[in-house]
Symmetry: none
Subunit: 141 residues, 4 copies
């Protein structure tokens, strides 16, 4: 079981609506499936060029390790070499910063949402709001 | 001047509507801006895991070289080492196969659409239909 | 909207004039467009061989993240793993050191100037002077 | 002995004047020193994003092998594996296509000019014209 394109697009729409309501800066939102592969992405106007990779990198790390990216951030602070080793395995594609949130149902991982553009805390709050609106459990780490 | 997120999402919606009307297989559609960076992507249910990279690679090659990816396909057949050299410069991120179509206005490149999932000819036809519906010139190469 | 070649060459000329007036060491100056791609570069006589990549790397990081490279320097000091992750995404092409300055108009990013050769502070001051002389906003981070 | 920045900028100016007089498409021109490192580059408005790397790649291959890039093109056609091996050594940074022209004085290599944007033959003719105007020998391979 994994997220459908319709669900992913709905999560993106709800994320961008939530960020506008809450006055966040323009965002990039990526939704990955349970295999860690991109389903849908949207990058708002005026956001910088590396944002698509950052959004995916937060979500990819979450799926890759089975942990919301906030947990990877804490691990990176405590044990930098550990995250370096993970990124060596993943060709440098993981971003250990809050804002990569697992989408779960009954504890099983269906995919992940990665958001970047505002503070990491706000990026994560936005992802959690959209995932919960979709009726799933959100695990930020 | 470059494509906006609203335009990119509209091109994706029109691409997927066109593919359904014309009986193509499920697709992945990527829209890049004039700098070759992702603006929006959608991957339909049941499509394989590398499709997001393929769709982006077709569009990325078009923006990078200023040529629709069909022209890169022909060049790859005539001079394989040329495309190998381009991919050496681009860290292997270019896909020289039809279906990467430049979005132009008055001859200037605003971005590119990359589609994968059906035959290359159908992928390209789908991208052209959606770009023209958006009121832009489509250059498949 | 992005920087033209004429504007980029003018910024380079003004940078090198400013560094001579202020007694800085010989410099390398790179000007990138809004997509992070090189428009013009000049490397003064007697400067070392990696300077073109350093100048571009400072400017590239600024465009990629939407932040002057001084902000990336501060972030790298506070959270080294963050910049490592960004460089993982960017194939090691970002240089998080002051001297990569965004060129903005009405808040929108038109490109960036990267300078290397003297101290980072002087490199940045030189870029800011040339960008402001061109009539644009300079954002060093 | 190597090319100075003043000479490199003069070669770029003469290249772009020659291409305008002869009705070529907009170009990107790179000038490398005798060590194969960039001295100056200019990318005309409206040219695609990979052009700076292509122009440098043509010139880099010429300096790297001591042969104008037309000779590398012929070698690539006859022995593709040879150029692949060279690019393996050079991290994929060489472009074996005409338009990378050695700058020589009394047979010694002072640097190279790489041009891209029109046909390879025209790119090369433009580089040769500018190098000869500078009073040096041009070796296209």
């Amino acid at each position: 079981m994994t997220l459908t394109l319709t669900e992913a697009q709905s999560i993106i729409r709800d994320s961008l609506a939530w960020r506008a309501e809450n006055g966040l800066k323009p965002l990039t939102v990526a939704v990955l499936d349970s295999g860690g592969h991109l389903v849908a992405l949207a990058r708002e106007d005026g956001t910088s060029t590396l944002r698509p990779e950052i959004a995916q990198g937060k979500a990819r790390g979450a799926v890759a390790m089975g942990l919301g990216s906030r947990a990877l951030f804490k691990r990176a602070q405590a044990e930098p070499f550990f995250i370096q080793a993970m990124n060596g395995l993943a060709n440098g594609s993981l971003v250990p910063v809050a804002g990569g949130v697992l989408v779960k149902k009954d504890g099983a991982i269906l995919g992940a949402v990665g958001i970047t553009g505002d503070s990491s805390d706000n990026d994560e709050a936005c992802a959690i709001a959209a995932i919960e609106k979709a009726g799933y459990e959100a695990d930020g780490g």
